[in-house]
Structure formats: structure tokens, C-alpha cells
Subunit: 279 residues, 6 copies
């Protein structure tokens, strides 16, 4: 988890609990006494790469600070199917009322980490980075990008404020790639690298000449990407982008690009199967 | 969209924009003049069942109230691949800064609607309802459940506050199904039906005798479900639940249950492909 | 207090303290040293049914987590006039600055519980439920409905989201009672019972035939209510509603209806007299 | 309504709507088409002093800005029983979903204004002010104090931040009335008058000598109050306080005190009867 | 710090941290291990009057509750240049991520206190008060006014709600000073004194006759102020205001006015130099 | 103003108005009728570089959307002393209640812009950038950094999330400059440049060799800076930092560094003198 991120995460958890609990858990209120204590085990129902276990705990603790969680596995661990991830002890009301929200975070984040791992496994991490995009679920970006890192991926910019990516519409508005880069150079903080999205080799050349630090190769063929790598000759960071799948990534990696961005990591990962069983 | 839901949706949009925009869109600020106007088309890159097009507009209008959107398709329409969904006109800054957030909502919600439609298509809607679950993405439930309805599905309870579902742990805490139902009857508002989750036929019988209105058949075999339908004889609503897939749903529907709940509708739908092209 | 309701209550307390304290307690700041400790007793100045004593504590603890409260009575207890409810110990600044806000909650909620008890005492709780309405003070519903339960009453739906109540205007919009019930059946979650508000026996019959689960008898005479009970024959829950008073409730209860809703419980309860005396 | 208060009122309305609407109005969503327009009349079911009619409108407009309200009466008007207060036109969904919340504000505030008027009518406003207290409903103080003004009453301080009231516990902490006044003089802004709560004539004398601007006579007998008026001789503002009722206020006013504070105005006013009827 | 102000301060700190940390501290996350502990000293790089040291701690503790701060100096102490103010121990991540925000508060507030002290030192505090204004930095008023008090100054009203100051435009709207004072007397809470801003001796006389409690002498010459003091003869509090500087304040104080308000205390104090050095 | 920044600015304005207005403007409420309209002129009382005039308008419009502002000058214009900046027309209540908050923003931001201009004027903008720091007023950074740009300065990173600056403590934690740069390279998004803070020429050399993009020269002498420029030879961006004043900046600029960061721009700018005069 990144340094200094706790207050932001607390706000996300607060919203999620408010959404599920609203005016209160009717069923648990009627059937479970406030003084009842209990114990539950969290079980992986399939092999997963665990991400978000501290979020899981934090959700429960927002409802009852005295609930304790003993971890068998931690974020970044691969949990085999059927294994216990952690044990939860404390007020049954807190556990039952928070269970679904806590699990929704954990299953979603572990789903992203588990999927990212599959993409990373197709490539040589020493040579190419798998990076995420801004195609995330609204409101959960900080957690989803964390899950990508747990999965062995890397983060692209977080939002529109911490990275410059000059796209086709910016280029049109500025007049040309060179003019767009010049405008950014003249206005933006020096702490941000300048990346330009190009659709062909001409664009790449213009971007390099304009002084771009990185170039996003948009939907290029393998042939074009290899050509781009050769032209760039290490002068800019090359990012392959566009419709990357588990089937295509291996070949893309071999073209020699520096990074491959994969929207599917965050916008199309399925939730993994984890269940909470009261003992 | 449900009546009275606007203030809640505005809060969700506000959070999503804050997340992506933070201290401002550096690239657009440097390259696009505040006075530049433009026009863009939203294109379906695959066949989709559209859901969330008004959210899409609302996101852009939060950044610039003067942006206008002309709809070719509306929520609930099937948009063939390659077709224009709508046209957007107005300030280029507003369009470019809001584009990704607006699309993230639309692609996510249309993904859920499109997937729901696949499930619904496997069944006879006159006989069985496909319903969602609380396995939603934290913070987006009101929108995701809307997308399920657009897809032809139905909503289960929204949260812990608007539906009673007595699960195994509630039963253990109360002592038995009968005692749990009695406790709920004695405490909960009469406006809520009582649903009991059971794992076998004995549970079903006890639930019916205790006066349950609905019974969730948890992970039962097709055989068990058929048996349950026969036992229930229409006295309770029967909900099939547990690991339902596109492959298994057809057979489940044939057992005669009243509804089938599918967590995957919301926790594992992939985002559909939609792009915004500036003209 | 319902399970999972803590975060919501914290937000209400936060708003209430902000309202009273604004830029700070000028008088206490000038006259009481931050290190001064003290002890105070909470006294019932009349016989009350106590409700909200934990809210009282929670308000003080928001200002100073080290203030302790020792309870002589708990929520649900009848406190005779003149008796000590609890003892408060800790920072005098915290106690004096939080006193009024804490008392405002406690006196208001105990007022509702005490009044509810009077209504309940007029009836046989084994045969008829006294239920609240949505006629609550804006912002305090979750607490006010809790106080009704403490007083021996029951909760009707919390808001527009957790109960279906088809009123005259919905019937007009849908075309008829039957059509309205059919529309609700076709759209709303199965977890919610369907209640219909009717003004006469014809309405009751149509509602029963349409499959309503409950019927609200709006402003009916005792004669009409008795007739309704006879017609319903236990097929639907019958709720009497409209201008119920402490004088009229006994006779209404005798008609055989299942529940009587009383708006006055929450919209017109007077505050009870409780004072905090520093020792 | 006080100048500059709009943003605060908007926050209160937002909270109230969120409370009632949560995840949406299920009944209206199912039975009323989004395009249905309608008209409704607001009727006084008893004689009332109207307060809060603009809040009523504002609530509806938060749900649908196109709803219009034509006023027959305005705040401060006495509306005879049976008369139409205003006409509402616009989207039926907006009207039906916002009706209860809008009415809860209006009935509560008009209840306070109507009760205040009764108290004021017992006295000669040219000679004595009826003032409110901080015994208000948590979260609604700004509106409740507005309703008191509409009813012909006056506001005491709003909270702990805009008025100095030295009570017994402050006196104990400071050592004496004189010391407490001295401390306040030495610390507090000069923009605030200094009021001291006293229980007997000795206290009054000490407060006057210490330079107090106002003195609250706590639970004094009529005899003591007359004595206090005589002793004060106009040098300080005298406020009578403690258990004031509609029965006792007339005699209290005759003692010659400058103001009488009545907690019941805000903590025990019953809601008045107003109904919205769709035409 | 004023009694009851903690929740407000927490909200200010939360906003400040959110502003600086956004999606997380990239540098610290990459270079400092979560388990690394450390110790740092806070050093005064010039002589300062310390104000805000508890805010400094509270910022760090929001990021990590286990960070401890040992104070060598407290608010109100004069810290010589080069001396250690306090020692901080705990998680290096928390210290480094919170350092700048914590220092921004401390340097800003100590700057105000240090400047205030200079103004106060030019006058005889027993005879004249140096008071602040509403010319504060948006969002930080409660802290800035606290720093003024630490510096030996006094607070004027906090905002528009806790003090009456009738300015020229109010006088124009009301018709005359007398009419404005009469209107305020008839409407405003008796807990607030009435101050009138005047530009000449005629205004002063009218204000006194109208019953004002205080008069603000706006931009008067020393001669005029002396005259005003003579005319007032102690009947009203006299406040000198308008372009007061360190050069002019001594002579103004000698005119005999009761208080001098100085906008520069809060709107133009420079930040003092304090640094955090990790040991 | 940066693209997409409106929602953030609205939140800042909302907080500022809440702070000043609290429970309402007592003076204006008592003296100015809600229907009174008026006109006012905003006047520069000294020569200023205008920044924040749209914030000024937006504050007033939050209180009354019908207030109009006609601009004579815009942000970035130099307004001579005595000249009218704009004319404000509309409800006098809105103008008087919002005046101080609106002016506090405008005077503060114009103060920063005016000071920045002085620094920029001492240098050749074609050769060296004057940049701001994170030493801003908590809560106002987005506006203060905007004012710096208006003044001709440039922005450094906004917060800890959109720029990498490896400081001494990060270096200590990582082991060396090389190791710190390597760690950042291995973890941080590629969209961020890597800047290293060094204290001597050895540090500079190590940073360059490690692949830093920029180097901050911390408190170096002019001699050292000249040496650094010579060593760097254009391979990295050089930023001079530490105690820069209007007196020292000219010589620093001549050393050939690329940028000079000046904390005083935001932490010690005095407010400029602007007044609103009602006509």
C-alpha cells in the first residue's frame, strides 16, 4: 500500500459500508444477539494471488474495532485452492454485517492481482513492464492499481494530474505533435515526463524529435512495433497499447517494447471465489 | 433509473471525477485553449446492450454544463458494432478531461447489461427471473443494479436493510430455522418478506413450516432443485443460487425455480468496447 | 441499536456537534481550564422510558475519548422521577461543551420512547402492533425509529427504499389497484412485501384479489375497520392508519386489525426532562 | 431566512432526502412513468402559522428542478383550516418521491411557529421578548430558530460560539461569579455580551457588580423575579428561564423581566397537519 | 485551543493531507520500507513564538497513530533560533509523508503568532487590545485566530454570525446609523453587542446616541481618534481600524482607543523558518 | 485555471463560505431587505497583478446565482492603483454577505501573483524558470499554484503524488543516491521524472550517473552552483533551492541553473489591498 494513503482508503471503506448497510442489517439485528462472539475462516475456493487482505480487516474493524484477524497469508502470496487465508474472531454482528462488503473488496482486488499475474507470466519482467491504464472502476482506482502491483504489474499514471499523455485530440488542438510537445514543455511541471500517443512511424519520429520522453504505440501491428523499436533505438520509452490479450501479449513483448499497457487488468478482471465460513 | 436517485448519483459522479482529475488535467490544460469547441462521436466497437448513457452525459456536464449530447441510442437499446451511440458537442477541454471517467461508467454498466442479457436469453423470462446479488463493486451498487434491470434481469435486495435473508450463520445464532424466522417475525418491519437460505430439503420444509416467504436453495443439484420445487408447491418463492454460469443456467431454469441469482452479473462482467472519436 | 449502524450514527453526531460548537465554546474556553476534571450526574426530572443513553455517551466521547460514563439505567429501563441515570467523569471542558447536544439527543429519544409506551399500554401487544411512520424529524430517522422500538412499538418501512406502499396517487398513475400491484410485482425486488393503501372496502377487496400482502386502511371508521377485518379473514396484514390518538387507539385495537400506525410517535412527542448536574 | 444561509440549508435538505430515498423510491419507480406530469395542492388541515414553505419547494426542486410551486400563502401568514397553501406542478415522480420529506420539514417548522405564536399572544411583545433556547432537534437548529422568529419569538444565541452564558458549572470552575465574568472579559471577543445565570438575588447583585450585560434568572418564583426586576433597575437585561408553560407565561411576563426563554418552543412542539393532494 | 473545536480541526487536517498526498507519496513508497522507524528533530531556524505544535503532531498521527512527539517547547513559548522544538519518533513513512503538511501548518501559525507579538510589544496590553479581523486565509480562520491569541492579541468576531458590525453599506440600506441600530436591536439576539463603523465624529455621536456598544473608527487620523476618545468618554468601546502598521500602531495606541484591529496579522504574516531533521 | 478543476474549486469555496457565514449574517439580515438590489465597484488600492477574479465572482454566485460581475480587468492584467477592477450588480444581501470571503481569495491570490512577478522580473524568463514549492497554505494549493502561473512563474509538483523528489532522508533509507534512484526506477510510474536533492558536487555526479532527470541543488553557494552547471552540462535539469530572496535571485539566475524554486511565493506573500465600494 502506498505511503500516506490511509485517509483515502478510509473514505472508500466508509462509502462502501454506507451503501450496503444503509439503515442497518435487519436480519442480523433480529437473529444475532449483540453479545454473541464467534470465529470464522476465510477460504480460497480456487487458487488466487491474494490482494486486499488488510482492506478486508479494515472494513470489519470499522464496524467493530475489537474484531481481530489472524493472517495465514498476506498480500502477494499465492493461496492454493481450499486453503485458509485468515481467521476472524469477534462480535458475530460485526462479522456478519461486514462480511459481504469486506469480501467484495477482497474478491475484486484479488481478481485483478490474479489476472495480472497471468499476463506477467507470459513475459520476461526483466525486459518488459505490464502496466495498467485509467480504465478502472470509478471510485476504486487507488485499490485497483495497488492490486496490479501485487500481481507483478506496474502502474501507469494515476489520473490526468500525474502524467502527461498527448493523444490525437490534443495533437489536433495544438496543430501538430511538435507543437503539442512544445506547449507542454512550456506549461507543465518539469516533474512529469512527456508521453505522446502515435499511430505510425511518422508520428514516432516526430515525437522523438520534439523531445518526448515516451511514446505510446497505438494499436500497431507486431511488424510496426518492431520497426518502432528499431527507430527509437532506446531514445524514448516505448509503450505498446490497444486490445492486448493473454493470447497476443507474448508476441508483443518480443517486439522489444519497454512496456505493454493492458486495460483488461482493471476493467475486465473477474472476481475470485473466496468464502467466509463461521466455525 | 429509479425515482429519487439523482442526488446519490451526483455524489458518485463527483467522487469519480475527483479521482481522475485531482489537481487538474495537465495535458489538456497545456495543449487545448479554453475557448476551443469541438464535436465527438461515441462509437460501439462491438455489439452492446447500452446502459448508462445518461450517466455518461451527466459526467461531462459536471465539468461543463454547456456540453450537449444528442442520443442516437438510449439505455436498453442494442447497439450494433460500429454504430454511433451519440454525438457530443461543446468545450474540448470539458470533453477531453471528462472522457475517460464518463466512458468508464458507460463501458462498465453496458458490460453488465450485455452480460445479463446473455443469461436472460438462456431462459424463459415469463417463468423465471434472473436476479442479481450484493456481490457488486463497492460504491457502484445503485448503478450496477440498474444495469442488471436494463439487461432484462431483476434486482434482489439492494443491501442489508431492504430485504431479509436468513443465512446459515443466522440460523446457528438463533438455534434453528424456525427460531430464526420467529425472531425475524417478532422484530423486523412487516414490509419485508422473509427469505431463508437452506442447503437441503429438510431445511426447505422447516422454512416453509416456519412461514418463510421465500427460500434460497444454496448450491443444490438439479435433482435437489426439482425436488424442492415439488415440495414447495408454490407456497414459497424458490431462488436457486450458487456458482450459476451461462452453461448451467438453462438446466437450472428448467427445474421450475422462480428465480436464479447470478453473482457474476456484477462481479465478473467485462467492460464493453466503446470509443469516443473527436470529429 | 441495529447491527452495522455505527458509521451512520457517527455522522449524525458529528453534524450535531458542529451545529452547536461551530468555532468553539466561548464561555467554557474562558472559564474552565483544560486540565480541570469533574464528575456529573444525569437525573430524570420525571418518570421516563430511557432511550439513547449510548448516544449520549458517544457525543461526549467525540469531544473527549477519555470521558467515562457509568450507567445506572440502560435503554429500555423505566427511570423513576428523581433518580440518577448515570454518572459522567472526565474533562470538565468536554462535559460542559458536549452537555447540551448530548442531552438534546437523549431527551428527544426518551420522549419518543416514553410516548410510544403510552400507546402500547393501551393495547394488547400480543394481538396488535403499534408501528411508526416516515413522519420523522429530517435527519434523525434512524434514531427515532430506534426509540419507537425501545418504547415497545415496531418499525414500519424506514424509507421509500425498503418497503412498498401503493398510495392513491400511485393507483391513479397506474390505472387501478390491480394494475398498480401488477406493475410492482413485475418490477420490484421480491424481498419486499406489497402493501396497498385503500379508503374503502372495495379497495380492500381489489387489493386482496390483486395479491397484496398488506393493506393500509386509511382513515376508516371503527365500523369499516371491523368490516375490513372480517373481509380479509387473515389473508392480508391489516394496518389501521390516520389520526390515531391516545384516546382512539384502544377502540381501534379492538377492531382486530394487525397493526396501527401512529405518526405522532415521532412527529409530536415532547422532549422529556433530564438534567446534568455537576457534583 | 437569514442572509447567507443557503449553502447550509442545502446540506440539510441533501441529508434529509438521502435518508428517505436511499437507493430509490421502489413504489413510485414501479407505478409512475418518468414522463407523467401532475398537479397537487397543499392543504392546511387545521389553522396554522406557516413556516418553511420555501424549504418545502427547495426539497422538491432538488429532485426535479422543473417542478414549480405557486404560493397562495407565505411564511408568516396564518392559514385557516381547509385552505390551500400552494399548488405544485411538475413531474409526478419528483412530487411523490419528495412529498414526505418536504412535508416533514414544513409540518415541523409550522408546528414550531404556530406554538410560538401561542406563547407570544399571552404577552405584550412591546414589553417582553419570548426567546428560544439551544434545546433544539439535532441538525435542524437553523430552521427551528427561523420558525421561532416567524412565530413572533426572538432568538437567543445560536450555539456555544455566538453568545456567552456563564452557568453554575462555569462559576464553580472560575471560583465565583465575579471571577468568571473577569475571565470572560479578559478572553472573549468584545462582540459578545456577557450573560450570567443566577439562582437568587445575591447572584444577581454580584453579576451586576461584575459588569454582566444580562442575567438569566433560573427557575425563580414570581416573587423573586419581581424582586430581581426591582434590584436590576434596568442596568442589565433580565431573562426568565425554567419550565415556562403556556399557563405560567402570562404571570411571568408581568414581573417586568425583559425576556422569557421557552425550551418547549423547539423541543416539544407538535407537528401541524398539512396534506398534499394530487388533483 | 478553544473548547469543543477538535472535530473542526480534524476536518481541516483531513483536507490538507488529502491535498498533499492525493493518490500517495510516490517517492517515499519507493525508497522507504514500511517497517523502517526513525527519529527526527524539529528545529527553529530563527527566533519564533511557537503556535500550532499540537496541530503538527495531529497531522502526523492521522497518518500513523503510533508516531510520538516529545515537546521541548509548547505553544506560547519563544523558541530561540537554533533550538530544538520537539522530537518525533515512529514510522519513517508516516514522518516523511506528513512532514510538509505538518510544517505548513506550524510555520504559518507560528508566523502569525510571531508577528502578532511584534504588534503587541509596541503597545501597553493593559490599556489597549490588538485584535484580528476576518481578513484570514479561507479555510484556516479557526487556527489563525488561535495563533493571534497565542501572540498576545485578541479575537474580534469569528465570522458574520457571532458579532454585529454595522458598516457603511448597512447604514445606507437602513437609512441612517440610528435606524440601523434600531433594526438590529429589534432583530438580532441580545447576546451580541452592537458595533458601528463610523468615519467621523458625527457618526460616533449618532452611534452613541443610538445605543451602540462599540464603535469602529474607520481610517481616522490620530487627531480624530483623540477627539473620539474624548467624546466617547468611556460610554462605548472604541476600535481603531484601517491600514495599521508596526510603524503607526504605537501612536494610535496612545490616542486612548480601547482596541486596534490589524488585518495584517492574518493576511500578511510571513511563514517562519522551521525544519525537520532526521537523526 | 486548469482543465477539470471546477469541482475542486467549488468545494474550497463551499468551505470558505461555511466558515464565515456559519448560522447566517446577523448584521445584514437585520438591516438589509432581501429585495434590495445594488451595485458595487471593486477598486485596486495599489498596483496589483490580478489573480482570482473568477473565484471572486464564483463566491458571490454561490450565495446568489443572479449576481452579475462585469470585468474591466482579467486575471494576468496589471491593474494600476485606484482603478476599477470590475462592477458587481445584484442582491445587496448576497453582495454584503459574500464580500469578505470573495475578497479574501482575491487579495491573497493577487498578492501571490504580484510577488511572483517581482521575482520573475529579476530574471530572464527565457533562460530560467521561477517555480513554486509545496510550502503553501493548507487547503489552498490549487489556487495558490494558479496564482504563481499568473505571476509568470511555473509550478513544481503539486503534491507527493505527481512528482518524485528524492531527499536526504529517502537517500539515507535507501542506502545511497544510486540505490534510491534504482528503487524509484523499479517502482514508480514511468510518467514521472526523477529529481534528486543534493548538497554537493559529489551528490550531483552520483545523481547524474544514476540516471536522474533533474537535480535540486540544496542551499549551494553561487560558486557551487556555477560548478554544478558546468558539471551537469545539460544532462539534467538543475533546480536551485533554499532561502532564495528578491535580493539573491538575480545572481542565482546568472549561474545558469534551469530553475529556481522560491517558497516565499506562496508562504510569505502579503495580501494586496483591494476594496469593494457600494455605489
Amino acid at each position: 500500500m502506498k505511503a500516506g494513503i490511509l485517509p483515502l482508503i478510509d473514505r472508500i471503506i466508509e462509502c462502501a459500508l454506507e451503501e450496503d448497510l444503509g439503515a442497518g442489517d435487519v436480519t442480523t439485528s433480529a437473529t444475532v444477539d449483540p453479545s454473541t462472539k464467534g470465529e470464522a475462516r476465510l477460504l480460497a475456493k480456487e487458487e488466487i494471488l491474494l490482494a486486499g487482505i488488510e482492506i478486508f480487516s479494515r472494513v470489519l474493524n470499522r464496524l467493530d474495532p475489537e474484531i481481530t484477524v489472524d493472517y495465514t497469508y498476506h498480500d502477494g502470496d499465492i493461496v492454493p485452492s481450499g486453503r485458509e487465508i485468515c481467521t476472524v474472531r469477534g462480535s458475530m454482528r460485526g462479522i456478519l454485517s461486514g462480511e459481504r462488503t469486506a469480501l467484495n473488496f477482497l474478491q475484486h482486488l484479488s481478481g485483478i492481482a490474479t489476472l495480472t499475474r497471468l499476463y506477467v507470466a507470459k513475459t520476461n519482467p526483466a525486459k518488459v513492464r505490464i502496466v495498467d491504464t485509467r480504465k478502472t472502476t470509478p471510485g476504486l482506482r487507488v485499490l485497483e492499481k495497488y492490486a496490479v502491483r501485487i500481481g507483478g504489474g506496474f502502474n501507469h499514471r494515476f489520473g490526468l494530474f500525474d502524467g502527461i499523455l498527448i493523444k490525437d485530440n490534443h495533437i489536433v488542438a495544438a496543430g501538430s505533435i511538435s507543437k503539442a510537445v512544445a506547449k507542454v514543455n512550456a506549461n507543465a511541471p518539469h516533474t512529469l515526463r512527456i508521453e505522446v500517443e502515435v499511430e505510425d512511424v511518422e508520428g514516432l519520429k516526430e515525437a522523438i524529435n520534439a523531445g518526448a520522453d515516451a511514446v505510446l504505440l497505438d494499436n500497431m501491428s507486431l511488424e510496426e512495433m518492431r520497426n518502432a523499436v528499431s527507430i527509437a533505438g532506446g531514445r524514448v520509452i516505448l509503450e505498446a497499447s490497444g486490445g492486448v490479450t493473454l493470447e497476443s501479449i507474448e508476441e508483443i513483448a518480443k517486439t522489444g517494447v519497454d512496456m505493454i499497457s493492458v486495460g483488461a487488468l482493471t476493467h475486465s478482471a473477474r472476481s475470485v471465489d473466496i468464502s467466509l465460513e463461521v466455525i
